[in-house]
């Protein structure tokens, strides 16, 4: 909790509290649990600095899924047999665990395909007015309403809202950014007004690393009666996040960024809000009574879970949050905070390299994007790869924020709990050689 506080809104930041980064011995034990980290690339050990895209999985998680599949695999619910009971139990316990990890009750967590689907479910549920089906009542977007996002959003938290506005005649507005990569809070009161029906924003930017001032944004949204939707993809894996404390109505995040599998994400929210939302995707397991003519729907979370759910993936995610809990999210955050400082200190020293986003580690997660003068990010990435360093290149599904800082793409290094300081150093060393390779100076 100290760590979360230390990563709380700008201006109120404190040092990382009492939690310490993992020391060398701890890190060695930890890293041994991740088989992929033993990879070599050519002659170099792999330095995996692409965890903001997808994290690696420890054997604990791999084994949990496999054990389930080798012992109890079955379709959940409606089964009278032992395997179906065990599967149902494992699946619903996973819901309790993942929901609890972010401070929600189990009936406040909907399994989705990924975080993106979660945001789409919300955007659709809020924009079905006038389409003949059930709508979200007072929450429904109508012509003249406004949806507010920020300029640093991932496409997942932008495009679905653009589409919802197209469907409903609502208007999309956004809060801009300062030159040093922070939210321009001076715009808050202008942009979030009585017309604002929804405020949707990232907890942390996957490009800039910036942690947004959730408390002040939620306060303003509450003041105007707007629904708050948090894209927690880059915060839940890295910080101690309690959605009830943050007081957001709805939030999404993905398993694959937090030691869990692909194929599963979550929409977690206040029960009353989920209750008010109509179903979007329909089919088996989310209905009560179906006739050829019409259907009635179950309460949340089932209302939003049509068809066979990602069962083994839920079981794996359960184990992932146990691993995170065992390590302690305060220590995870402290570890990454130290690595982020090391990264920032290093890159800001390399000539011809510009950081997108804050140059200090305060209110920042460990995704550091840089632009190398005169070298295309894809070429940067290729040179780093030859040194065993795995980074992401491109626009990271966030074109507007790149445009904001005069770039079309960037090279991003991102850390996680298993990242070693030596990997950061390998990145810095390889990065320093890039411009020379392409004859720039």
């Amino acid at each position: 909790m100290d760590t979360l506080r230390s990563l709380a809104p700008a201006g109120e930041a404190a040092p990382v509290g009492e939690a310490a980064p993992f020391d060398d011995a701890e890190l060695a034990v930890l890293r041994a649990r991740f088989p992929v980290l033993r990879r070599t690339i050519g002659d170099h050990p792999l330095a995996y600095l692409d965890s903001a895209a997808t994290a690696q999985r420890p054997v604990d998680v791999l084994d949990a899924e496999r054990d389930y599949l080798e012992r109890s695999n079955a379709a959940v619910h409606r089964g009278a047999h032992t395997l179906a009971e065990e599967a149902t139990e494992a699946y619903e316990q996973a819901r309790v665990a993942v929901a609890g990890f972010v401070g929600r009750a189990d009936d406040e967590l909907v399994w989705t395909r990924n975080a993106t689907e979660g945001l789409n479910l919300v955007a659709f549920a809020l924009s079905q007015y006038g389409t003949g089906g059930a709508d979200a009542g007072d929450l429904t977007l109508r012509p003249g309403d406004e949806v507010v996002v920020t300029e640093l959003e991932h496409h997942a938290n932008l495009v679905p809202w653009q589409q919802a506005c197209l469907r409903t005649g609502a208007h999309l507005r956004w809060i801009g950014l300062t030159d040093d990569g922070r939210l321009d809070e001076t715009q808050l009161d202008d942009v979030i007004t009585d017309r604002t029906k929804v405020l949707a924003f990232a907890h942390a930017s996957n490009v800039l690393g910036t942690v947004l001032p959730v408390e002040r944004l939620v306060e303003r949204a509450r003041a105007v009666g707007a629904l708050t939707v948090l894209d927690a993809c880059q915060s839940v894996p890295h910080l101690d996040v309690n959605l009830v404390d943050l007081d957001v109505d709805l939030a999404v995040f993905s398993a694959h960024k937090m030691l869990g599998p692909t194929g599963i994400g979550a929409l977690a929210g206040r029960r009353e809000i989920l209750d008010a939302l109509p179903p979007v995707l329909t089919g088996g397991s989310m209905v009560e009574v179906v006739t050829m003519e019409s259907s009635t729907f179950r309460p949340p979370p089932q209302r939003f879970e049509a068809g066979t759910p990602p069962v083994s993936q839920a079981v794996a995610w359960h184990r992932a949050v146990e691993v995170l809990d065992d390590l302690g999210m305060d220590r995870v955050a402290a570890h990454e905070h130290a690595l982020t400082e090391r990264l920032l200190a290093g890159v800001t020293k390399i000539p011809g390299v510009r950081v997108l986003g804050p140059e200090t580690a305060t209110d920042r997660v460990g995704a550091v994007s840089v632009v190398v003068d005169g070298v295309h990010p894809h070429d940067v990435g290729q040179v780093l790869d030859a040194a065993g360093v795995a980074v992401r290149v491109g626009h990271h599904c966030a074109q507007p924020v790149h445009r904001r800082y005069g770039a079309t793409a960037s090279t991003r290094a991102s850390v996680y709990l298993y990242t070693a300081p030596s990997e950061v150093d390998a990145f810095l060393e390889a990065l320093a050689g890039v411009r020379a390779y392409f004859g720039r100076r």
């Binding site: 619910h77 409606r78 179906a84 009971e85 009574v289 179950r298 309460p299 089932q302």
Partner: protein
Amino acid sequence: MGSLDQLYQQVILDHYREKHGFGMREPGTGTRTAQSHQLNPLCGDEVTVRVALGRTGADDVVQDVSWVGDGCSISLASTSTLHDLVVGETTSEAGALVGAFRAMVRARGAAEPDEELLGDAAAFVGVGRHANRVKCAMLGWTAFEDALKRAVVDGQLSPGGSTVSDDEETA
């Protein structure tokens, strides 16, 4: 005793064959009445429970529980034992019995059933070991709990229409 017989104890099979309190009854004059319909969406089964409350001194007393429903042996037998158990009890005693029953069937088979308190309903202890049957055992009890609440709050002197409700048990 095989695991099957642990679940389907003889009392349960008996209540299943001869359902106590089954069939909707007109409430006696002066009673306050409400009913609740509960659907188990996992299987499509349903039960409707009607509660008639009378007055004994300062207490509201469950004068009758009448019910109809379609379902498995567990759901029907458990509603039958519910009938035997709560008729004649005060509303608060009846509420406590529902609580005790719920705790037992949710204890994943780890509970020691209190036969003195729960009577025949104690036979449902084995349900706890079958997560998918907990809703079966609770179906009639949830309907009763809901009808009881309605009867206390706004029970009608003549039987009301079918007030459908759903709560978390059947969710």
